[in-house]
Symmetry: C2
């Protein structure tokens, strides 16, 4: 369906009107972007985007990412006008109000057709890279008849200026993700004013330098937009479509200025806009012909979906494809045999190595994992199970060399998880969660099953020193909502943690893993699945119960040592392995009280900040940890320097008991 | 002093020998980079770098940043060979051992001549941008005779691939920082293998697109290196010098491979290298002629410094320059009058606005502040006191439009603070500390006085929703070592916090400021300087003492409301404003116990995660907060939804008391 300007202009103006009216009603929001990109979006959605409003979860739909998420009224308008069940006009009226799915920024958990949560700039583009990777990988696995779609992004100057943009487009260019197209809202305005205040970059040249195809168009000329999109679709490289636009297009006195970016236009300007664009309809009303043109445009996608559906009926791998897109693990998936084998033959390995060992199992049993590392493959031990590299020449590969791009990696993993059909995991050093924290938070907010394999998890990494030694990191991640942070103590806990992580359909996991070898602390075959309650008793008190030692990861065996020494001195001490505080906090009060009885001295031992451990030890407990930066030296010297030895800890406990 | 190859080659080989031997002795470290860049570094340090080993703190020295910090043996070698007092050869022998200043990565707090701590990739380049800004700004303020130096960076592929690189070079190109030169160790190798595994970028074209001058050289040909450096020095733009090198140059079987990157070469390979480069000296011994050539090269800088010193003697602004470089505030600096005026005429403003009000005072009284924002000037309220923009045309300006580059901004501020003479402050939304956390951590580790103006500090920002609402951020920053996190409750506390921040010579500060208006909670003129103890009692209990309410920022006035209601019900309640947990933790036990008596129910109230508040409330206390993501709605609706009202809180306290 190709309409002429007379029919298209009011369709685009419907976006402008809804956007300015909704922002005005909410008395907050961003009208400038939706009004500026209305023409481009109209062409894209009515003529290019493959989607079926009746089936927002159609697996082979094109993915549309509004990376400039503040312009959320653009996508709410597009969804409503195209005929999606949600948002309704009532939802749009309640833009930015409590309970409306039309939140300030688009949230993937509020509207089916919002592919991902955007707002933190640059991450939309980077997630789209992950979606485009997922598409090519699934295409390689399941064929053209099943997976054959594009990824479209609308991005603003902010998205392009953020550092993560560099990482994302570097990855996309390298992997030749030709089915990804970024529509750049090139309006030369940011919040502070003209872009010339802060940048002099030749953006097109930069994209070209990174292996992208670049095409420009007048973002307010329908024919020119079509020409550019045709070219973008035809080119084998990922494309940047530079759409020259006027921010707030239509607003008579404010268009082209930062005044339209993030504030209501005001009644007078809105009235002026109505006149200027010839829009007579009342707020939140769309003329019948305009709506009917929008709705008609969606028929193309409905037909495509129907024929796709038909093809699926005879597809041999349909069951497997549907299972993967549903995010279900194979019914027979289990790591029990592997764990039992460890029970029989204990190993003393670093938990990063233990992670590699269990990945050998996992990657053999699951076809949906895609691993990777931000240039620390040999250190993160993430390449296992015989998986080969995913490259521009072989999208069937299951291992991504992300390069030195932690943030880009994490966001790409979000995109893969949200696309569906893939469980991504990726590694870097735990300390560099600081580099990708913005994306870890979006994993959690978006309820995306991403597994972060974060190794070198404390001063135990030794000589690399304080820049590389996490101190506050584990605790600071534990307080992020909807994120599991697991710090396993040995190979068995590591396997249990991996299984828990894989079974979280709506939660990401950070695995904090040691560089140094750790003894296996558990080898009783009947004690299975202990980690799932977050914390469990590894050692009961021998003498009369006085002390509860709570430790995680590499400090669990230290706690066992302390307990042994305490028992020798007649002090009964139990040891609790705190694998995951979040899961422990979810247990009932009786279990929690059983693990950490109120009538004992509770002592936390973790080679990191003590801040926060008081949740479990109280104001009268004892917290053993490190509240300063680390240092450069062999690990054993550091554990001694920072007092993380039984010799240093036990006397403190005795003193505290005697105080 | 220009030496021929016969003299230069052994000088460069001294770096190679020291590097491979130190890494071997430590049995960990990175020999590949120092060996690969030895020739380039030798030319740079002996013929271009303006420095005087006898005076590492000479204000007008060139700044040298080893952005590829893992190659730390390069700078340790250079410093020792050039004749700096530290590191000694004994220090180098103890590379990576406890107590040696030759840590795994270069630490600015361990060696005078290490300008900044590097290791977290990309940040060295970005800090160098800040140093180069500082140089131009101080040049504008104090003239060519006093400030006229260059900033040199050695960076690897990792530094260039990180997202922050894009932000940093974008800023440098825009500000035309022509006195900044980046020497890129172009060896085509990363940890995982050849760079072709993960990138296809035309790096030179990318730098050119961002306003940089680019020149290439053979990094092992002394004459060619000189040619390239001459060109870099001559060009008005910042320069990227692409030095084509062989990683691990000299190692007969391993050079040119990732095997040399991050592991000792091994005895056999080291012996082979000695033969290959003709190095007969024993480990940690440098032949006399070689050492004497190195030491002679430093005379150039000593002479320059002497003539600079002479010029200073007659410099009218010498005192002011020295004060600023020493990091001392003017002796008469005080905000007392301003604070007293607020006591007299209380204001109800957002603390971000209160910050602007006090900045009006500060920027008028101090010439050393340079403000800025990552494209949120009007929201962060950071432009105040009549300061004008710092631009390529006017380096005398004191306000930087950083663009949408949070990480780049934070790292640049670190560079400015470390350069000296400047107190940088910059703003973004508090939630985007996630974007620049890696640099905030380096502010703390490097003991750099940087002030982060982080506004929109809770769900109080309202409609922008969960992507923009900090939940875990304040607490997660509080646990970072050597960082002050302050959450002032009103205009008076905001002023006090600013003064505390400015007086921290060795500590960065994060100010968490509200978007929404807050009533002034203090107006007793005799109560000055309360914030400096971290927490103080704002309201004494009226009835018999039963409850201690501990709140921060926008929840302090809510706590006062709760206390009022409790008193009405006969429950004595004090209110403690917890402005800064770190400062409170530094107080003596008596003061702490006086503020939060053990015999009362301690209740924390903060619109963020409750995790960690148990430090002050214990296991039997009550923590009021938000342990999920936020939502999009007007702020008042959100405070109600999340139970942050006196109506919701007081009954919980009563219940707890009755339990």
């Amino acid at each position: 369906m190709t309409l002429d300007t007379a029919r298209l202009a009011p369709m685009a103006n419907a976006i402008r009107a809804l956007s300015m009216d909704a922002v005005q009603a909410a008395n907050s929001g961003h009208p400038g972007m939706p009004m500026g990109m209305a023409d481009v979006a109209t062409i894209l959605w009515t003529e290019y985007l493959k989607h079926d409003p009746a089936t927002p979860d159609w697996a082979d739909r094109d993915r549309f990412v509004l990376s400039a998420g503040h312009g959320s009224m653009l996508i709410y308008s597009l969804l409503h006008l195209s005929g999606y069940a949600h948002p309704t006009m009532e939802d749009i009226r309640n833009f930015r109000q409590l309970g409306s799915p039309c939140a300030g920024h688009p949230e993937n958990f509020l509207l089916d057709a919002v592919e991902c949560t955007t707002g933190p700039l640059g991450q939309g583009v980077a997630m789209a890279v992950g979606m485009a990777i997922a598409e090519r990988h699934l295409n390689a696995a399941f064929g053209n008849d099943t997976v054959d779609h594009r990824t479209w992004v609308v991005a603003g100057d902010g998205c392009l200026m953020e550092g993560i943009n560099h990482e994302a487009i570097g990855l996309a260019g390298h992997l030749k993700l030709g089915r990804m197209n970024v529509l750049w809202d090139d309006n030369a305005i940011t919040i502070d004013g003209p872009t010339s205040l802060s940048t002099s970059e030749d953006i097109k040249a930069r994209y070209e330098a990174t292996g992208w195809h670049v095409v420009s168009c007048d973002g307010h000329e329908f024919a020119d937009i079509r020409r550019a999109l045709d070219e973008a679709v035809a080119d084998e490289r990922p494309s940047l479509v530079a759409c020259s636009t006027v921010i707030g297009k239509g607003a008579p006195t404010k268009q082209g200025t930062s005044a339209t970016h993030g504030a209501p236009l005001g009644d007078e300007e809105i009235a002026g806009t109505r006149t200027a664009i010839g829009w007579d309809a009342k707020p939140f009303e769309v003329p019948e012909q305009v709506l009917s043109d929008w709705r008609a445009s969606a028929r193309r996608g409905a037909q495509e979906r129907a024929s796709w559906q038909k093809r699926q009926e005879s597809f041999a791998k349909r069951g497997e494809f549907e299972r993967r897109m549903a995010g279900d693990l194979p019914a027979n998936f289990s790591l029990d045999n592997y764990i039992q084998s460890l029970m029989k033959d204990p190993v003393k390995v670093a938990t990063r190595k233990a992670s590699e060992m269990v990945l050998e199992q996992i990657n053999g049993k699951l076809s949906e994992t895609i691993g990777g590392s931000a240039d620390l493959t040999g250190s993160n031990n993430t390449k296992a199970g015989g998986i080969g590299p995913l490259t521009a020449d072989d999208y069937a590969g299951r291992y991504i060399y992300y390069g030195i791009r932690e943030f880009g990696m994490a966001a790409a993993m979000n995109g893969m998880a949200l696309h569906g059909g893939i469980i991504p995991y990726g590694g870097t050093f735990l300390v560099f969660t600081d580099y990708c924290r913005g994306a870890i938070r979006l994993s959690a907010l978006q309820q995306a099953r991403v597994v972060y394999v974060m190794t070198h998890d404390s001063i135990g990494l030794g000589e690399d020193g304080p820049t590389h030694q996490p101190i506050e990191h584990v605790q600071s991640l534990r307080m992020m909502p909807n994120l599991l942070v697991m710090r396993p103590a040995d190979a068995i806990e590591t396997a249990e943690c991996w299984e828990i992580a894989l079974r979280q359909k709506n939660r990401p996991t950070v695995l904090a893993l040691s560089r140094q070898n750790l003894p296996q602390v558990r080898n009783a075959p009947e004690e299975v699945d202990q980690s799932s309650r977050g914390a469990y008793r590894l050692k009961k008190p021998g003498n009369s119960r006085k002390v509860t030692l709570i430790a995680s990861g590499s400090e669990v065996h230290l706690a066992l040592k302390c307990a042994e020494e305490l028992e020798k001195q007649g002090v009964g001490a139990s040891v609790v392995s705190m694998v995951c505080t979040q899961l422990f906090d979810e247990q009932d009060a009786a279990y929690q009280a059983d693990m950490i009885p109120g009538d004992t001295l509770a002592v936390s031992i973790e080679a990191g900040t003590t801040f926060g451990w008081e949740r479990y030890t109280g104001r009268d407990g004892l917290n053993i940890g490190i509240d300063s930066f680390g240092a450069s030296a062999p690990a054993s010297d550091l554990f001694e320097k920072f007092g993380l030895t039984a010799e240093a800890i036990v006397p403190q406990i005795i003193n505290k008991l005697n105080a």
